[in-house]
Symmetry: C2
């Protein structure tokens, strides 16, 4: 008998009625002859309320206590779903992270799953009992409760699927699946039936909203077949799997991703001082500031060397202050900051060899008279940084040009 992991997000277990509906979804897999592991998030709103309690006390806090507090949300949902299943005559019990145990690192509030002991869980499953597991949490080497960071329930589900060699890991959420572009911005965005792990990772802005990035990476590493689907409808959702299984034609652009939450920094220095860039990179790394879309170039007049990069806007103030304070030590002349930028990316496996695809991108931007601040590319993604005010127009145009609009695919 196959193992199926079903993960129910906060909006899918937000009320007692929804918990009963989740129980029906478990039942349909049981009726199909499967063993089911149900992973649950906290009821929507619960975790935020608990986080507010902590923040009301203090802005800085012991993360181990934060975890003890915040992890209580999933504990409630797990018990309630187990009871809902029992009411339907299905044997079920809740498993808290420490009871399995799901061993994690001791980085409280952002722990990583290190090892899952499956013996007790497997014994219960083999008896035909549904295991309802608290997502998002585990046990530290010190014997305390850890959490995996927000959205970590996805990772719990994938890790359990990997440990139990589950046939599939279904992520129930409040969207229908993964789209060719963010449906909030592109009305013609179309749902994808299949997508490769890598492509999913690159559809970053959507991905973050639907699935925690770490969970996709974990699934890719352990070849867990992931499915994202709505708990509110009966559509099949999107299967995220290895590219061969996803039956994806190379050369095809699969979707358009965007990020509106970045800023663009440019450090201006003298061209005689190229080693400065290494110093700056080391300085940023030391201060845990992640940068992307890194470029360096001589300015047109040939008298300065520009080093530019993007970073998350949540980090921008801190990074700006740190760099300004170290201006003399690092030895640059000027620091420019542009916050009204948007990163637009086209996603598709084997893109690096598809000159036609990238040609189209730059052609459309030229036609629309949109400046490009920076470009970055990989085998799967081609990103351009453009002024924020043109972002929606660019996404819509690209979506049409690459024939992604719903009626065309």
């Amino acid at each position: 008998m196959a193992f199926i992991v079903q993960k129910f997000g906060g909006t899918s277990v937000a009320t007692i009625e929804l918990i009963k509906k989740a129980a029906l979804r478990v039942k349909s897999e049981i009726d199909a002859g499967h063993h089911v592991i149900a992973v649950v998030s906290a009821m929507a709103g619960t975790t935020s309320a608990l986080v507010s309690f902590v923040r009301d006390l203090s802005t800085t806090y012991d993360r181990a206590e934060y975890d003890a507090i915040v992890s209580s949300g999933e504990q409630i949902t797990a018990g309630l779903l187990a009871l809902a299943l029992q009411n339907m005559g299905i044997p079920a019990r809740s498993w808290l992270g420490w009871q399995i145990p799901i061993h994690t690192s001791s980085q409280y509030a952002e722990a990583h799953i290190e090892h899952i002991e499956t013996k007790a869980l497997q014994a219960a499953l083999n008896k035909g009992h549904v295991a309802v597991v608290t997502g998002f949490q585990g046990l530290s080497p010190e014997g305390r409760v850890t959490t995996l960071g927000r959205g970590g329930s996805d990772t719990t589900a994938v890790a359990l699927a990997a440990a139990l060699k589950a046939e599939r890991c279904d992520i129930f959420t409040d969207v229908e699946g993964i789209y060719t572009a963010d449906p909030r911005y592109v009305s013609t965005a179309d749902k994808l039936d299949h997508i490769a792990y890598q492509e999913m990772l690159e559809l970053a802005a959507q991905g973050a909203r639907v699935l925690q990035k770490e969970s996709v990476e974990y699934a890719m590493k352990h070849r867990v077949r992931l499915r994202v689907l709505s708990s509110l409808s009966d559509t099949p959702g999107t299967l995220i799997t290895h590219e061969r299984e996803a039956k994806i034609r190379p050369s095809l652009i699969r979707g358009i991703a965007h990020s509106f939450n970045e800023e663009h920094f440019t450090l201006v220095t003298l061209p005689q001082n190229p080693s400065l860039i290494d110093k700056i990179r080391a300085f940023l790394k030391e201060n845990h500031i992640l940068i992307d879309m890194v470029q360096q170039n001589l300015s047109l007049c040939g008298r300065t060397l520009n080093f530019s990069f993007t970073l998350q806007e949540t980090e921008a103030d801190r990074a700006f202050d740190l760099l300004q304070q170290s201006k003399n030590i690092l030895g640059f002349n000027d620091l420019l900051r542009e916050s009204r930028v948007a990163k637009i990316s086209i996603i598709g496996t084997g893109l690096l060899n598809q000159h036609a695809a990238s040609h189209k991108l730059f052609q459309i931007l030229r036609e629309e008279k949109i400046d490009v601040y920076a470009v970055a590319s990989s085998d799967i993604k081609l990103s351009v940084l453009i002024p924020a005010q043109y972002a929606e127009r660019a996404i819509a145009s690209l979506h049409t040009i690459y024939k992604l609009d719903a009626e065309e695919r």
Copy 2:
């Protein structure tokens, strides 16, 4: 350095502001050079909300899941109090029942504490860390979370005080201490400074509101000095201790207790059939119906034998139906039921030898023309069952007669 256990009830940790106040109370014991174990209940209202979730799902439920759900409330408070202490510069950490562990029986929802492993806790305390412990919960032999039943946080506090040989166990609540009578009914009720365990147990109606009965029994058995005091004021509260330490003069009436939640049943049978009473007692026991104030007597005209007793009004309907259904088998003639009754008791150590005290009781009832349905006495308590409409008047009169009024003591 002495160990002090401080227990904060739900109303004492109902908000972040109150949690900060509780932290200040911990701090004052730390400043006095003590090791502190703080035991917390769930924030007022939390447990009821969780119980409602369970009841919304089903009227019957797996108690192990109930425990997993309901125990989350204390987990939150423990983490928050630990954070509040850390904010004051006091090293502290939360301890969940299973982390200590507090081993209990596996009677979920009404488990009993069997053994507390103090090693890890003691090591943390010896380092000067405050241990903030979740009340009300423990670990079953099966490795799952148990709860001790409502109010069980008191028992957790007392059991920890016993296990750690604490100097004192302070129960912070929303009343000032134990009174000579229930202050809701007797405006002149006075707070007692000292009271013996036994007397506390007999002040039943108040006791249930302030302290779980089991916790007082546990304290008596292990000689834990208990103190009940208000978290909202700085009055010293009531010390509950062994009678010698309580320095109680025998002969003194310590307080008036009452219960309005009982009914009085009278079974009428033929005098030729006295063995019937044994059968009825066995029948009631079999059906888990606890009875009190048992009396049997020949009726005045000598033709019937009456067997009467009191029982909790919550049990009365069930008991009445069961008895009626078995009328023929048990062989009694009639069953009378009186629900408008009140049990009034005078409490004082060594009461059995104090004829003057009991004489006064019956004298006042006679003077007030109050009928007495039944009488029961022990070394520490003399109870009378009277019509409910006279209850408040009787309590007030007795309170005055025994010189318990606030201005007189």
